[in-house]
């Protein structure tokens, strides 16, 4: 029996993990750990504690495998647990909802030839885009971050946030409209190369 959209190998690993095969679950962890950690960073606001949160979430996910519905996609189910664990920890530590993403300093800076679809963006413009995203209200910021920064689909974003797909769609549209206003100078190339 194959579940549409889920690789057979993942399905097999889930089934084995459910039966107590720890090695199978660790393989699942390896497949999803990078994006899980990013979701934790998005909720926690920065890198600190994100690893602890992610690890805790994986342990919870392992013990919750019985509740995972075999006919639904695994990744957003897992990311939802990560996000909720991060929300719990954030509240426990009395942290504000803020996003302190940083730009990597040493990647793609001039040495990589952009593909035809890639726009050329100066470092200063990129900082403006990041500031505009950081400045969105949380309900918009989370949707934009999951959709565009982590590359989740609309359905995955909905499942991860625990909201209907229609809400993701409308929030995305409103968030993009806000960004369009906030970044009108950058979009039109005013003041920068």
């Amino acid at each position: 029996m194959s579940v549409e959209g889920r690789p057979l190998i993942e399905q097999d690993l889930i089934e084995r993990a459910r039966n107590g095969d720890v090695a199978a679950f660790e393989e699942l962890v390896r497949m999803h750990q990078a994006i899980a950690l990013r979701v934790a960073v998005l909720v926690m606001g920065d890198h600190s504690d994100a690893e602890d949160v992610t690890q805790e979430a994986f342990v919870k996910a392992y013990h919750a495998l019985d509740r995972f519905r075999q006919d639904s996609p695994f990744r957003p189910w897992l990311l939802r647990i990560v996000r909720n664990e991060a929300l719990n920890q954030r509240r426990a530590h009395g942290r504000q909802d803020r996003l302190g993403l940083r730009l990597a300093s040493d990647r793609l800076s001039g040495d990589a030839a952009p593909s035809p679809e890639t726009v050329v963006v100066s470092a200063a413009d990129r900082e403006s885009v990041l500031a505009a995203v950081n400045g969105l209200p949380e309900r918009y910021r989370q949707v934009v971050a999951l959709r565009y920064l982590l590359g989740l689909s609309e359905a995955e974003t909905a499942e991860t946030l625990g909201i209907p797909a229609g809400t993701v769609k409308s929030r995305t549209a409103r968030a993009l409209a806000r960004l369009e206003v906030a970044l009108s100078g950058v979009i039109e190339g005013v003041g920068h190369e």
Binding site: V22, F25, E26, V29, R30, Q33, A34, L37, R38, V41, H47, A50, E51, T54, Q55, F58, V59, K60, A61, Y62, H63, A64, D66, R67, R80, N84, E85, N88, Q89, R91, A92, L101, R102, L103, A104, R107, L108, E117, T118, V119, V121, R126, V129, L130, V133, R139, V144, Y148, L149, L161, G162, I163, P164, T167, L176, L179, V186, I187, E188, G189
Partner: protein, 254 residues
């Protein structure tokens, strides 16, 4: 526009390539030592068996002894400083008869679910916490400020579980005597249902209709936060129910 290739989406795509994400460090995901244990539910059940058995023997022993002998036994067990009140029959914990699930501690409940758990600031810590398939039920004993429902002894029942974030889809049908009043809880849409509804039909995240049995036969306040559906059952009126609902805070802070 001087650069027709620039759109918000393309700027976000560029940003995505340049975020400084953390890399998972190797030791972080060596989970084997933590995963090798039995699943928590099994473990907890087993852990409590000897404790429960020992308590049952102790209680039986105390009940058949004279007051002096009881004191001697209590002293012997090193619990002389604790006042033990003997009642003719052992009372069930608050809410025990309502079929609310397995009784757990608040910490266990928080541990067992994958959503952020709330506890109201008033009326204070719950008198009983129950867990049933990912749903947390908290009960408070009836009292002067919390009128109890019938003979249940329960004055307030608060349930929380995964929701789909859209309160407007909540309530599908009610008995003919019940009325639904749209309301707001801390800016979120909610419903106040009056008139002794026993069953309400709600739609879950996947669009499936679920019959929800109500326990107290009082009034119901339902609302949703981002990912959690909250339900209060109470004999209190709307204003007081909203006051309780708006006093919710994260369980971790307690």
């Amino acid at each position: 526009m001087s650069d027709p290739g620039r759109s918000v989406e393309s700027l976000l795509a560029d940003l995505a390539d340049h975020i400084d994400w953390p890399e998972p460090s190797a030791p972080l995901f060596e989970l084997t030592p933590r995963l090798g244990r039995p699943r928590p539910e099994t473990r907890r059940r087993h852990r409590w068996v000897p404790v429960t058995a020992a308590l049952a023997i102790l209680v039986a022993l105390l009940l058949v002894l004279s007051p002096q002998a009881r004191k001697a036994v209590a002293d012997l067990l090193g619990v002389a400083g604790i006042e033990i009140e003997f009642t003719p029959e052992l009372e069930d914990p608050v809410g025990a008869g309502l079929d609310l699930g397995r009784q757990v501690s608040l910490d266990e409940a928080v541990e067992a679910v994958d959503f952020p758990v709330s506890v109201p600031d008033q009326p204070g810590d719950p008198d009983g916490v129950y867990l049933f398939e990912g749903r947390i039920n908290m009960v408070w004993a009836g009292g002067e400020r919390l009128p109890a429902s019938g003979d249940t002894g329960v004055g307030l029942l608060y349930s929380q579980f995964h929701g789909d974030g859209d309160a407007a889809r909540f309530v599908k049908s009610l008995g003919p005597e019940s009325t639904v009043i749209p309301t707001e809880v801390a800016g979120r849409n909610g419903f106040w249902i009056e008139g002794d509804p026993h069953v309400i039909s709600v739609e879950d995240a996947s669009g499936r209709r679920v019959e929800e049995t109500l326990r107290l036969g009082g009034n119901v306040l339902m609302w949703e936060t981002d990912e959690v559906t909250h339900r209060l059952e109470t004999m209190l009126g709307l204003d007081e129910a909203i006051r309780i609902a708006e006093s919710m805070g994260p369980a971790h802070d307690r």
